[in-house]
Amino acid sequence: MPTSSNGARNIITFQKYERPQTLDEAWELNQKKRNRIVAGTMWMKMGTHSFGTAIDLCDLGLNQIEETDEEFRIGAMVTLRQMEKHPGLAAYSCGAVEAAFKDIVGVQFRNGATLGGSLWRRMGFSDILTVFLAMDSYVELYKGGIVPLEEFARMPYDKDVLVRLVVKKQPGAFSYQAVRKQRTDIPSLNCAAAQVAGEWRVVVGSRPARAVVLRDEQGLLAGGITEESAAAFADYAAGAVTVSGNMWGSVEYRRALVPVLTRRALLALKEVQ
């Protein structure tokens, strides 16, 4: 177990701590191989990490959720709890954001964990990635510019800086479902359903690889959501989503969960349309 120089047990070790005053300064610092942006340090603390300089973005004013008539602009340092409690996000998402966030570990964790840290890692089990993939969402990267979240979710890690998430307020409705072994655990599978700007989307995450977006390419939901069309789309999802096993669920269990959560998410979506 690594120890810090005061002798305490410490799973994260680094030599220097920097608070850049500009995004350019943050990006420059981040180009060194041994440096890391530390975000909220909540997920990071679950593993062992040793690096040179911790880059803290907390002085860059990225801890705000800006809402306009057209979009939400959510800074990288906004905490999960801020998003969970934001009335505008709650109204626009039909409660799906709160539903997705409310069982992530605990209030204290969500007061620390940030949007940037959660999205940047593109963790397979992420509730955050799944719910925002159901929306018309984009990430703003300092050098990479505006990138659709769906594309970002597939990108490899690089040394850019995630500045914010932009969620366009396209007319839509959203729902969210997850199965956990117990409350606050990592989901065995999660699922968001949406009708956004006229397009049907079902997002399946924690499979356990990164979440995937399904669209209604076969027109199964063309006549709206009914028990039958939801079941038909659930059958389609069962064949279209690849799953694997880990300690939160076997392949067989997840394979069985995909159609169940898809159907439930679609029926829940019908209730908020």
Partner: protein, 157 residues
């Protein structure tokens, strides 16, 4: 690096390694109610209030808390004393190791939502793990405190 934190109302400064965690900082300054549990951001034992919000001090950098206000149970004894007796009456403190974290998060809950439902209590405290009690005792204790407060309020009307 030099860090200044307003700890339980008193400005404390210290020269610490850059990777010092907030839990180590506050314990080094006498706040031994803050317990080291899972160290993986999971159990809530190490809960402190940073700028009045409950956070996990085992996963928060002391450097991040620089210039901010931090409260531990040592600084909130009076506020805690209003309800901890009700929890003890239910036998819910048992081994006691998780209690400071539970109490800190209950303080945060009651400040944010003075009259929570049972569901809201369980949801807010779900990040505090206890291996002894099964959580029902804590819920009964907080409910008993809230009921007692309601009765007091009704008697004053």
């Amino acid at each position: 690096m030099e860090i200044k934190i307003k700890l339980n109302g008193t400005m404390v400064s210290d020269d610490v390694p850059a990777d010092t965690l907030l839990i180590d900082f506050v314990r080094a300054h006498g706040c031994l109610s803050v317990k080291r549990g899972c160290e993986t951001s999971s159990c809530g034992l190490c809960t402190v209030l940073m700028d009045d919000e409950p956070v996990l001090s085992c996963s928060t950098l002391a450097a991040r808390a620089n210039g901010r206000s931090v409260h531990t149970l040592e600084g909130l004894q009076e506020e805690a004393s209003e309800f901890v007796g009700f929890i003890a009456d239910q036998g819910a403190e048992q081994c006691g190791f998780c209690n400071p974290g539970f109490v800190m998060n209950t303080i945060a809950l009651l400040r944010e939502n003075p009259d929570p439902s049972d569901g809201e209590i369980l949801a807010y405290l779900s990040g505090n793990l206890c291996r002894c009690s099964g959580y029902e005792g804590q819920l009964r204790g907080i409910r008993a405190f809230l009921n007692s407060r309601h009765e007091e309020g009704a008697n004053h009307e």
